[in-house]
Symmetry: C2
Subunit: 598 residues, 2 copies
């Protein structure tokens, strides 16, 4: 490779093969050319400040040094944003960009110490404060004159809010709240954020009720909706890294007379990666759709209409659970697809996995959330049984309830999606039957629920799959309507891949609850394998279109130029251990030990 051809030859070749306009897809993802331009400008502006540059990568530092560096960087970053706000009156997008999984992670790889302030503290003020309180506090919080956190969890208490032990008692004399954590298990734990202040400035100490007690869910739902979107960013990163690396890496020699192929040419590798690309689009459209619904429901709430709140709650629960679990699996699969190099911190895949898998636990543990959705689904089933009309996202239940017999299987995208609805309805129905059977055997409802909860959580997951599959397909039809024919073709190949992939993953469910046959399944396998072949030439183009800057990817394996080995070597040389020919531990321990003198 000479100085003139700085991009790896394989990647150049891949980019030539691409059948669609990469910029068109980037614009499509961003929501228009204007949005792409704004995002890029913002990224350049932040990155040119150089806050992200580390002389010694922070992975080599001690815990304390890492902490101090993170506080320093966070202050520098938000100082910059504060300056913009003053100079240019930039909007919320600047905050979202530096708090989310994209731009912010270029600067603060372990996450920002100020994230909770913005995604929990401020939304709580806005969702639950009175108008007067908001007028006083929200501006100060945005400007970081005060920094708050969200200190719900206690050492011995998590999900179950009523179990919390800490009390806050108002003292009218001092006009202060007296906080009391009476036991070891009452200690506040995981408050996140680097400095926190309790904000119970409700002035006379009485609690002012929100317009509805249900509004308390607002903050949590908001965060869950944001989380689904974050998952897109993480999966997009991981799959960009793994796909580019797979185009550069050559391995083995299946045909004796030919050179070692790119590992991207192995179908098992395509099987690991392409579903990740499709997942980004599926989650993106689902997150947008959920975001719209969130805004609509919030508007309805303000008008006093609470009808769709339980539905939104049920949706945000299962979408949070399924998107985080899928994202974790997808990122880990990308890491495993990069072999030993994927295990290195320099790939940035282990850290990305750490962020994503944490999301399976925080903001509502996934199993707990699936069971929350299950409660809603069981109610919906009972309503359908009573002949009532159901809200839109569960209306399929009454349709299927009405005509219980499986229609002939339709081996198309629409047919598969309908099959998934049939699976979800079938599993909900079966769970209800089992609960009732157990009650008849003498169990309490709570015990019968508990005994059936593995099946209930699986029913909930199936419901969520049906939602994601149909949303992805339907929203893509709308969004891609004005795309060029070349792009449209690839976008729908991804939809097909996603739907067929999940049909094959859940073939047992389909066999139980629909009339799919062995012949249909074999056709699906073939269809899936053909889709991998069709997508292969566009793989690099598809991840290029995510348009993630090298500073944000932060990966020796995934950089745009594909100079994987040069970058790995450069990273290894940054290790303080490689700054000296022999570490002192050799002279202190190993040499005397080998000579029997230790």
């Amino acid at each position: 490779m000479t100085e003139q051809t700085k991009v790896n030859a394989d990647l150049q070749q891949e980019r030539k093969k691409c059948t669609f306009n990469i910029t068109e897809l980037t614009n499509f993802i961003d929501g228009g050319p204007h949005m792409t331009e704004e995002r890029r400008k913002r990224e350049e502006k932040v990155l040119k400040e150089g806050i992200h540059i580390e002389e010694v990568p922070s992975e080599y530092l001690s815990h304390k040094e890492k902490y101090e560096l993170a506080v320093k960087k966070a202050c520098m970053l938000f100082k910059l944003i504060r300056r913009w706000q003053e100079e240019e009156n930039t909007g919320m997008e600047s905050f979202r960009a530096v708090l989310g999984g994209s731009l912010g992670s270029a600067i603060l790889q372990d996450g920002s110490p100020l994230t909770l302030h913005y995604v929990m503290f401020i939304p709580t003020l806005m969702g639950q404060g009175t108008v007067e309180q908001q007028a006083y506090w929200v501006g100060r919080a945005f400007n970081l004159d005060i920094i708050g956190t969200y200190a719900q969890t206690e050492l011995g208490h998590g999900t179950f809010v009523r179990g919390l032990e800490t009390t806050a008692t108002y003292d009218p004399k001092t006009k202060e709240f007296i906080l009391n954590s009476p036991t070891l298990t009452a200690y506040k734990w995981w408050p996140g954020g680097c400095k926190y202040q309790f904000l119970f400035n409700d002035h006379d100490g009485t609690y002012v009720n929100s317009p509805s007690s249900k509004l308390t869910y607002g903050t949590m739902m908001f965060v869950r909706v944001v989380l689904v979107n974050d998952m897109c960013n993480y999966v997009a990163k991981a799959v960009t890294i793994a796909t580019r690396y797979s185009a550069v890496r050559h391995q083995s020699q299946p045909k004796p007379d030919e050179p070692e192929p790119q590992i991207l040419d192995y179908v098992t590798q395509q099987h690991k990666l392409f579903i990740g690309i499709a997942t980004v689009h599926a989650f993106k459209l689902s997150a947008d759709w959920l975001w719209n619904m969130y805004n609509n429901v919030t508007a309805e709430l303000e008008a006093g209409d609470l009808d769709r709140l339980p539905e939104l709650h049920a949706l945000s629960c299962c979408l949070k659970a399924v998107s985080t679990a899928d994202a974790a699996e997808s990122v880990e699969r990308c890491r495993l697809a990069c072999g030993g190099h994927g295990y290195m911190l320099a790939s940035n895949l282990p850290l990305t996995y750490g962020h994503v898998t944490a999301a399976c636990t925080y903001e509502g543990e996934n199993t707990v959330l699936l069971l929350q959705t299950a409660r809603y689904l069981v109610k919906a089933w009972q309503q359908a049984a009573g002949g009532n009309t159901l809200t839109p996202t569960v209306s399929y239940i009454s349709k299927i309830y009405a005509g219980r017999r499986s229609p002939p299987w339709d081996n198309t995208i629409e047919g598969i999606i309908e099959g998934f609805q049939r699976v979800a309805a079938g599993k909900i129905g079966l769970s209800v039957t089992n609960i009732e059977k157990r009650q008849k055997e003498g169990m309490s409802y709570e015990d019968a629920w508990n005994m059936t909860s593995v099946q209930l959580s699986q029913a909930s997951e199936s419901h969520c799959r049906a939602i994601i599959l149909s949303t992805y397909n339907e929203e893509m039809k709308i969004q891609a309507a004005s795309a060029s024919p070349e792009l449209k073709k690839v976008l729908f190949q991804l939809v097909d891949l996603y739907v067929v992939y999940w049909a094959l993953q859940r073939v047992g469910d389909l066999l139980r609850f629909t009339s799919i046959s062995e012949r249909d399944i074999e056709q699906l396998h073939r269809w899936y394998e053909d889709l991998l072949v069709q997508l292969r030439p566009n793989a690099v183009g598809l991840v290029d279109a995510f348009d993630i800057k090298d500073e944000i990817l932060h990966s020796a394996l995934g950089a745009y130029d594909g100079r994987v080995y040069e970058r790995l070597m450069a990273e290894a040389l940054k290790s303080p251990l490689n700054a000296e020919p022999v570490n002192r531990s050799f002279h202190m321990y190993l040499k005397p030990f080998m000579q029997g003198k230790l």
Copy 2:
């Protein structure tokens, strides 16, 4: 909790409920009371030296400090072993204990820098050296007068050995090998071990062939066999931690008038944990069985009989792949089952996951290994088609090939195992059909293989499942023959749980390739749920029987006394950040930033 009742009350209660003798099970796992006694003595002897004690947990140190500490500890540890060898002539068990996932991990949590020396370097000397070479080198290596490593991987080359670029040329003048890594991609990478020497002292530089070129596989197979056993240790650790924590932790209030239940009482939690307990036993018996087969085949090899070598190779490949993948899933599930506390390093679950998931990549990447087994299975299928007799572990293929129609489903353990054999045979057959079909369409064999490789790797996994299920069941019948009725009952509940769990996981496969019905599946669900209820009172007893000392578990959540919150608090106080009331970063960055003075 007073000083007198130092063990958490819930755990005391759990131990009282246990229906079998915990010591009997520990002895069963160790292979007899004598073995338990020896192991415990060894552990006490090592631990009383105090090498494992860290004033500041190493997670707070810098990379370089961690490295230096690991070298120091490794030298201290092996100095101890060397002393024992001289004083007491202890055997291989001492090495295995300090190198494996159990005792060694108490001292070197990131793994021992000398592991590769023992599990790769010495076995290679023993497997491939001439008698003269062995006489000269093996003793020196065991005594650590020389330290070797296994430096196969290069920056640009992994699995494909023929692709390696580094050359070793013998110089008769100096009687030395001249090593040459001509390019960037030829750099030796991942040599592991803290200091390495190439050992090409084959004296005149010519390569002396092993008795068979196939013996070269010896070292690799040995390591894979050892790995399956290591996976037991890791899963046993993780499930001990998560089960004890789940007995101590209380959460939510499903019944309004009752206190918060132990989270172990939630069936979804039992679903996450009990399969982990069963997995340990299933892997342990499979590993022992594979180890016996390895020794038999090695003995046959020495007698010049190579017949069973390909079968052993195929088995060690798929068992390595499936056991590491299952172990990773199991450990991660345990971590997720412990909520936010499981995410803390102090739980020791994240580090355990790091070790286990690494094993999915090293010693043969899992997908590559599954496809190695698939080659063997395709050959076996073709032999069955030709009417030939097959070696024992694939003989089920000819049985099924001969009578292709599915017999009526038998909803028993034996029936399910036969069902899994039918699934494996069915998938192998379908893969062969698809390869042949693609060849008829004009593809080369290699391309047809590649296009079918997703299905092939799945067939290989199904074969491995059938092997593990039947080995677990059959070996347990033999091993547990003389156990007490109480213990036997629990051991077979675990076998049932394991088999039924996997039947439900692979219900799609069973529906495709056997005559299982919806009614059978619903019975399996019920059977599974009943097994969880039966195992519930013995959960803590079952993990206690793994008899993992607190120093080895190294977990605030999993200690024998269950004082989870005290330990979590104590761990938090060890952080250097908590040794000072306010970190300097507040004064340096955060305060000036909030005041607008940064």
